[in-house]
Structure formats: C-alpha cells, structure tokens
Symmetry: C2
Subunit: 218 residues, 2 copies
C-alpha cells in the first residue's frame, strides 16, 4: 500500500510537470505573436512533442495502476480524474500549436496596435493552468474555485477585445486578416481556459463529491 | 461475468443515447440560425439539461463498474474510454448552447447571404458524432478513421467560409457583427468536430492498441 501511495505521488508529479510544459507552450505561442519572434513560435512544436510523450506515459501509468491496484472509492476517483486531466492538458498543447501557427502567419502581416490585451489574457490563462493543477495536488477547493472565476474574466477580456477589433476594422485601423488572426488567438486562449475550468470542476468533484459541472457560480 | 457484459452493453447504449441528444442539439442550434427560428434555438437548452443529467449518470455508472468489477485489460480500457467519451459528449452539448446563444443574437440582425455553408458544415459535424459512437460500439476501426478524415473536411470548410466572410466584409456585403456571428458558429462547430475526433482516436486506441493521437494521417 505504501508502494501505491508513492505511485500516486509520482502520477501527480508527472501531471505537474506536464502542466509546466503547457504553461510554457501557451506563453511562447502568445509572446511569439506579440514580439513577432519566429523562432519562439517554432519552439512551441518542440514543447508539444514532450507534452505528447508525457500524455502517453501518464495515460499508461494511470491505467496500469487501475489494473494492478484495483483501487476503490477515493483512489479510484483520483485515478479517473488523473486520466481526464491528462487528456485536457494534451489538448491545451494542441491549442498552443494552433496559436503558434497563426503567429507565424501574423508575423508576415503589417504591425497593428491591438495586441495590447493578448499578453494579459495569456497570463490569466497560464495562471489558470497552474492553479487548477495546484488545486488538484493540494486538494484545495478554494483554489479550484478561483479558476472558475478566472474563466469568467477570460470571457470578459475576449469580448472586450472582440469589440475593440470590430471598431478597428470599421474605422480602417486594422485589416480584416490581421484582426481575424487576433480573434483566432483569443479564441484558442479561451479554449485553453475552458480546459483548465474542466480540470478545476473535476478537482472540486474529487474533493467535495459535489458535481459543479452543471451549476454556474453567482 | 454475464452480469458485467450486460452492464457494459447498458453503458454503450447510454452513450449512444447521449450522442443522439448531442446530434439533435447541434442540428437545432445551427438550423435555428439559418431559419431564424427563436424557439428552435431555445430548445437547445432543454436538450442540454438532458445531456447534463446523462453525463452525471454515465460517469457514476462507469466509475461504479470500475470499483465493483475491477476489470483488467480490454474491459478496463473500455471503461476508461467510456469516461473520456462521456466527457467529450457533455462538452459538445455546451458548444451547441454557445451556438444557440449566438443564434438568438444573430436573429436580431439584418439577414445576409453567407449562411449557405453552415447547414452543410453542421451536417458533416453531426455525422461525425454519430460515426465515432457507432465505431465505438461496433469496434469498427475503418469507421473511426473516416471521422479523422471528416475533421480535415470540416477544417477546409471553415477556412473557405472564413475567406468568403472576409471578402464580404471588405466589399461591404456583410456587416462585421453579423460576420463575426458566423465565424463564431463555424468555430464552435469545429470544436464539436474536434471532440468527435478525440473520441475516434480513443476508439482506434481501444481497438488497435495503437496510439494515433499524435500522428497525423496522410
């Protein structure tokens, strides 16, 4: 049983490591756009390779623990949560690649001044990734709740950004293709935030046994 | 053991039923936009309630089977796949609600002629939902592969649609808010397609034991 406890700790550590890679890839993808840095954009593919390796490794490890340890109750829920969290992290890595791809296209276009909210939005999203995994490892329901609140903040930022871009297109300050690039990036950041929110909901369910997935917070 | 086999069949049937609800909600959300039908848009929330109930029910059922039957190998993989598939289906329901919300906003705006590809794109996506679940139930790898191919088709449709809308904005044929509505809808359909693709990848892994998640098809 001692062995199993240390296996669960290993599993948590692997998820934290993967989360760190996801944060790095999101940050590199959005910074590459803002700084118009092509090699930084390309680094996202290298990070994705490592994320994909970890995805396979974690999935196999968690499934093996299910088979060998045949856990019940709390440990069982922990392992099924780990499998879902792993899947969410892997998809976040794909979304960072989407952003990096778009960043490479965007670098080719004329510079515009509407980038201002992208780093802030990216920072909020990166911090959501960090917090949902910390909440998982520390069984911290309050921290998990803050992720749900940040998700609302990301939606607000995206909507404000969207309004700003529409105004810029209509006034001729931004070209349509450049504006669409930024909409695309904001959209993909929002999707990363959605995955972090899903993880936070799984964590709350794990801690409290209460399903918050279908209830909105006030 | 006979009991367990019939439990697994029940679980499959529940997932198929949930998939049917997801298809209905996607169809209602996009048709409501094209037909400018407000009550059809509102019906999506009713379907979502049922999807959410099924999500909780299926998750509990699969977890209970893991605990009580302590399956290994193939059955274990089947159950962890079912838990992930359930989670994907539930998120598709959320995306249909996003589309329905946007449809209600769009109905208020002046009519435009760029809707033409939405029903086709929606049809392809609905069929992906259907096929990935059929592939799961019938253990049909070929069918699962067709879902991966349809995902590429959806990306192409979305990109063509995107180009068309940009041209319409630049020529003054479409207003920016109306065009953004349609971009948003196409984006959410693409996200539904992504979830169907994730399911198809899980099915291929289940059948072949080969991880196709990180390999693109030619």
């Amino acid at each position: 049983m001692r062995h199993f406890v240390s296996d669960l700790t290993d599993l948590q550590n692997k998820l934290l490591e993967m989360g760190g890679l996801v944060e790095s890839s999101v940050r590199a993808s959005t910074r590459s756009l803002v700084e118009r840095n092509e090699s930084m954009a390309r680094s996202v593919w290298d990070i994705e390779d490592r994320i994909n390796q970890m995805d396979i490794e974690i999935d196999e490890f968690a499934t093996r623990l299910l088979a060998l340890q045949q856990p019940v109750a709390r440990d069982l829920r922990f392992l099924t949560a780990a499998i879902k969290i792993n899947s969410d992290l892997e998809r976040m890595g794909d979304l960072a690649v989407n952003i990096a791809q778009r960043s490479l296209a965007h670098i080719e276009r004329a510079q515009m001044n509407a980038l201002i909210d992208i780093p802030h939005m990216s920072g909020v999203v990166e911090s959501m990734v960090h917090k949902c995994l910390d909440a998982f490892v520390q069984r911290d329901a309050e921290l998990a709740f803050t992720v749900l609140l940040s998700d609302d903040e990301v939606d607000d930022l995206k909507n404000a950004f969207y309004q700003e871009l529409m105004a810029m297109i209509e006034s001729g300050q931004a070209t349509v293709p450049a504006a669409f690039d930024l909409i695309f990036v904001a959209h993909n950041l929002e999707r990363v935030a959605d995955h972090a929110t899903n993880i936070a909901e799984d964590v709350l369910f794990l801690i409290k046994g209460v399903d918050v997935r279908h209830h909105h917070l006030a």
